[in-house]
C-alpha cells in the first residue's frame, strides 16, 4: 500500500510540476491543484496505513483497538482539500479576469506590473516605462448599461 501511495504521490508531483512550467495560466492552475493533491497523499502516508477498522472507541474501552485506521490524517486532509478547493476556485476566477483584461493567458505577456524597461538608469526613463494608469475594466452591469 505504501508503495502505491508513493507512486501516486510521485505521479501527481511530476504532473503538477510539469503543468506549472507551462506558459498557459490555466495549466498552471491545474498544476497547483495536482500539487496540493500530491501533498494530501503524503499526509495520508505520513499517518501510516494501519488498518481498515473505523476509528471508534468501543463502549467501556479507553483506547482504539489494534488495526484501526488513523483518524488524524483524514481530518488534516479534509481541511487541506477544502482549502485547496477554495484557492483553486479563486485562481480560476483570477485567470479568467486576467484573460478578459489582457486577452491572453500567457504569463510572459502580463507585463504591466513589471514593465519592460525597468529598472531604468534615470528617473525620466523610469517614469516613461511605467504603463499609463488605466481605468479598471467595466463590470458586466456597466457594460450592459452602455
Amino acid at each position: 500500500m505504501d508503495e502505491l501511495l508513493a507512486l501516486a504521490f510521485g505521479a501527481l508531483l511530476a504532473g503538477g510540476t510539469y503543468l506549472m512550467l507551462a506558459r498557459t495560466l490555466l495549466r498552471v492552475a491545474v498544476g497547483l491543484l495536482l500539487l496540493s493533491n500530491a501533498v494530501n497523499i503524503a499526509i495520508f502516508a505520513a499517518g501510516r496505513v494501519l488498518g481498515r477498522i473505523p476509528p471508534l472507541v468501543e463502549p467501556g474501552a479507553q483506547a482504539l483497538a489494534a488495526g484501526t485506521a488513523n483518524p488524524l490524517p483524514q481530518a488534516l486532509i479534509l481541511t487541506a482539500i477544502v482549502i485547496s478547493f477554495g484557492l483553486t476556485a479563486f485562481s480560476l476566477v483570477l485567470v479568467h479576469a486576467a484573460h478578459r483584461a489582457y486577452g491572453t493567458v500567457d504569463p510572459d505577456a502580463l507585463r504591466e506590473a513589471e514593465p519592460p524597461g525597468l529598472p531604468a538608469a534615470d528617473p525620466a526613463a523610469a517614469a516613461a516605462a511605467e504603463p499609463p494608469t488605466r481605468r479598471p475594466p467595466p463590470t458586466p452591469a456597466a457594460r450592459e448599461a452602455a
Binding site: 496540493s36 488524524l72 502580463l110 504591466e112 529598472p119 528617473p123
Partner: protein, 510 residues
C-alpha cells in the same frame, strides 16, 4: 475571574474580534460607511484586547496557553502567547487601526462594496491566528486564511496591473503553502505529533537526523518564500507596488513578518541545533536577502517600488537574529521586527499621501513637496531614517543589538552586511527625499497638484503621525522596549522549558 478563564478569553479575543468584523462586514456589503464604522470599531477593540493580552503575558512572566474545547494539549488545538507573539499581535492591531482611520480620508469607494472591509478583517484574523497558533497544522491553516484574504485584497476593484500582480503573487504563494503543508506532513510522519511544544520534545529524539534537517529546510523554504527571503522573493516586487496604500501598508507591515515569525518560532523551539550547517544557511540567506533587497531599491525611481524592495532588505536584517541565534541576537531581531511593523506601515501610508499631494508615484514627476507639505516631509523622514538605522530612531537600537551579537559570535560578515545594507537603504530613502521633496516641482505636472483639505489631511497624516511619533519615542526612550526584547529573546532561547510547561501542563515526557 479565575486566571485560566481570563487567559482563555484573552487568547480567543484577538481571533474572535476580526472574525466577527469579517462576518458582519460581509452582511453589510452594500453599506460602505457602516462597514467603515465596523472596521474602526473592530480595529480599536482588537488593539485594546491585544494590549490586555500583552500585559497579561508580561505580568505572568511566561507563556500563556489555552486548550480549545478543553482537549488536553498534544491532542487538541492550542493557542499560545509568549512575549514575542503577544507583542506582534499588538503591533498588528496598531497597523489595523492606523489603516482603518486612513481609509476614511476618501468618500465611499467602489472597492468598499467589493468586500474590501471583510477581506481586511479576514487578513487580520489570519495574521493574529498565525501568531497565536500552538501547532504547526493550525499555523498552516492560518497562513491560508491570511493568503486567501490577501489575494482578494490585492485583486478587488483593481485594474490590469493588479490582475498581473495578483497572478504572480497567487502562483508563487500557493507553491509556498503547498511546500509548508508537505513539510508539516513529513514532520507528522516522523514524530506522530503536530503540537509545537510536543514537537520540541520529540524532534531531538528522532534518529534520522538527515531527514529532520531536510524537513527543517523545507520549512525554511516555505517560510522564506512568505517572508520574501533570498532567493524566493520575486513575487514581492512584482505585486506590492500595485496595491492601494492601505493594502500596501498592511501587506508590507504584517505579511512578511508572519513568515519571519514562523522561522523564529520553529528554529528556536523545534529545530534548535538540528544541524551544524543550519546557522550558515540562515546566515547566507539573511546576508543575501538584505544586500539584494536594498540594491533592488536603489535600481528604481518609483516610490512604491523602492519601498517594496526595502521590505525585502529589512527581512534580511530580521533573519540575522535567527542565524546568530544567541539571546542577544534574537532580542535584537524582536526589537527590529516590532519597530519595522510601525515603519513599513508608516512609509506605505505616507507614499499614498505623496501620491495624493504630488499626483504621481514616479520620482521624475514629483518635486517641491517639502515646500507645499512640510508635515508630510517630516512624516516621511522619520520612518525612512529609522529604516536605515540612524540614531535616535528605533531602527538604530535594533541594529545595534544585531551588529553587537554578530560581533560577539564572530560572525563578522553578517555584522558588516547589516551596516552596508543600512547605508544602501539610506541612499534609496534619500533618493525619494531629494527627488520628491527637495527638488523643484517639474514643469509639466501629470495631474493638477492637489491641495489636501483639512479633514483629508488629518485622516491621512494622523495615523502616519502616530506611527512616526512612536518610532521616534521608541528611539529616544528605548529602555522599556529593549528590556522587553531581551526578555522575549530569553524566552525563545533559555526559556524553552517554560513554553513546553505552559502548553503541556508540566507533564513529564511520556
Amino acid at each position: 475571574m479565575p486566571a485560566a478563564a481570563e487567559a482563555d478569553l484573552l487568547l480567543v479575543l484577538p481571533l474572535a474580534l476580526p472574525l466577527l468584523a469579517c462576518a458582519l462586514g460581509a452582511v453589510l456589503w452594500r453599506f460602505p460607511m457602516a462597514q467603515r464604522g465596523l472596521t474602526l470599531a473592530a480595529a480599536f477593540a482588537l488593539l485594546v484586547a491585544a494590549i490586555a493580552l500583552l500585559a497579561h503575558v508580561a505580568a505572568r512572566g511566561g507563556p500563556v496557553a489555552s486548550q480549545m474545547g478543553g482537549w488536553p494539549a498534544p491532542f487538541g488545538i492550542t493557542l499560545v502567547a509568549d512575549l514575542l507573539s503577544a507583542a506582534l499581535v499588538a503591533a498588528a492591531a496598531l497597523v489595523y487601526a492606523a489603516v482603518a482611520v486612513y481609509g476614511c480620508a476618501d468618500g465611499p469607494t467602489e472597492r468598499e462594496e467589493q468586500l474590501y472591509h471583510p477581506l481586511l478583517s479576514g487578513l487580520m484574523l489570519g495574521v493574529c491566528g498565525a501568531f497565536l497558533a500552538g501547532d504547526v497544522f493550525n499555523l498552516y491553516v492560518w497562513f491560508e486564511v491570511m493568503l486567501i484574504a490577501s489575494f482578494g485584497l490585492l485583486a478587488v476593484g483593481g485594474g490590469r496591473a493588479q490582475l498581473d500582480a495578483g497572478v504572480k503573487y497567487l502562483a508563487l504563494n500557493m507553491v509556498a503553502t503547498t511546500v509548508l503543508l508537505f513539510a508539516v506532513a513529513l514532520l507528522y510522519g516522523m514524530t506522530g505529533t503536530l503540537n509545537m511544544a510536543d514537537l520540541a520534545r520529540r524532534v531531538p529524539e528522532v534518529e534520522n537526523r538527515g531527514a529532520v534537517a531536510a524537513v527543517a529546510l523545507l520549512f525554511l523554504g516555505a517560510f522564506g518564500m512568505k517572508a520574501a527571503a533570498f532567493p524566493l522573493f520575486y513575487w514581492l516586487p512584482a505585486s506590492y507596488h500595485t496595491a492601494t496604500p492601505q493594502v500596501g501598508a498592511v501587506f508590507a507591515a504584517l505579511l512578511t513578518k508572519v513568515g519571519v515569525y514562523g522561522v523564529f518560532r520553529l528554529f528556536t523551539l523545534v529545530f534548535a541545533g538540528t544541524a551544524e550547517w543550519m546557522p550558515w544557511v540562515l546566515g547566507a540567506v539573511a546576508v543575501a536577502t538584505m544586500i539584494t533587497g536594498t540594491l533592488g531599491a536603489v535600481a528604481h525611481w518609483d516610490v512604491r517600488r523602492i519601498l517594496a524592495f526595502n521590505v525585502i532588505g529589512s527581512v534580511g536584517v530580521m533573519l540575522v537574529g535567527a542565524a546568530v541565534a544567541t539571546p542577544l541576537a534574537i532580542a535584537g531581531a524582536v526589537f527590529y521586527v516590532l519597530q519595522d511593523v510601525l515603519v513599513k506601515a508608516n512609509l506605505f501610508l505616507v507614499a499614498g499621501a505623496i501620491r495624493r499631494a504630488g499626483g504621481s508615484y514616479a520620482l521624475a514627476r514629483l518635486g517641491g513637496l517639502w515646500r507645499r507639505e512640510p508635515l508630510l516631509g517630516l512624516l516621511f523622514l522619520l520612518p525612512a531614517l529609522s529604516l536605515a538605522g540612524l540614531p535616535p530612531l528605533a531602527g538604530f537600537w535594533g541594529k545595534v543589538l544585531l551588529v553587537r551579537s554578530g560581533l560577539e559570535a564572530e560572525a563578522y560578515v553578517i555584522a558588516v552586511a547589516v551596516l552596508v545594507a543600512g547605508l544602501v537603504a539610506l541612499y534609496s530613502m534619500l533618493r525619494i527625499w531629494t527627488e520628491a521633496f527637495w527638488k523643484e516641482a517639474p514643469e509639466e505636472a501629470p495631474l493638477a497638484p492637489h491641495r489636501m483639505g483639512a479633514a483629508e489631511r488629518w485622516l491621512m497624516l494622523g495615523p502616519a503621525a502616530v506611527l512616526a511619533l512612536l518610532t521616534l519615542s521608541l528611539g529616544l526612550w528605548a529602555e522599556p522596549l529593549l528590556a522587553f526584547a531581551l526578555a522575549a529573546g530569553e524566552q525563545l532561547t533559555a526559556g524553552r522549558e517554560a513554553y513546553l510547561n505552559a502548553v503541556l501542563g508540566g507533564a513529564a515526557a511520556p
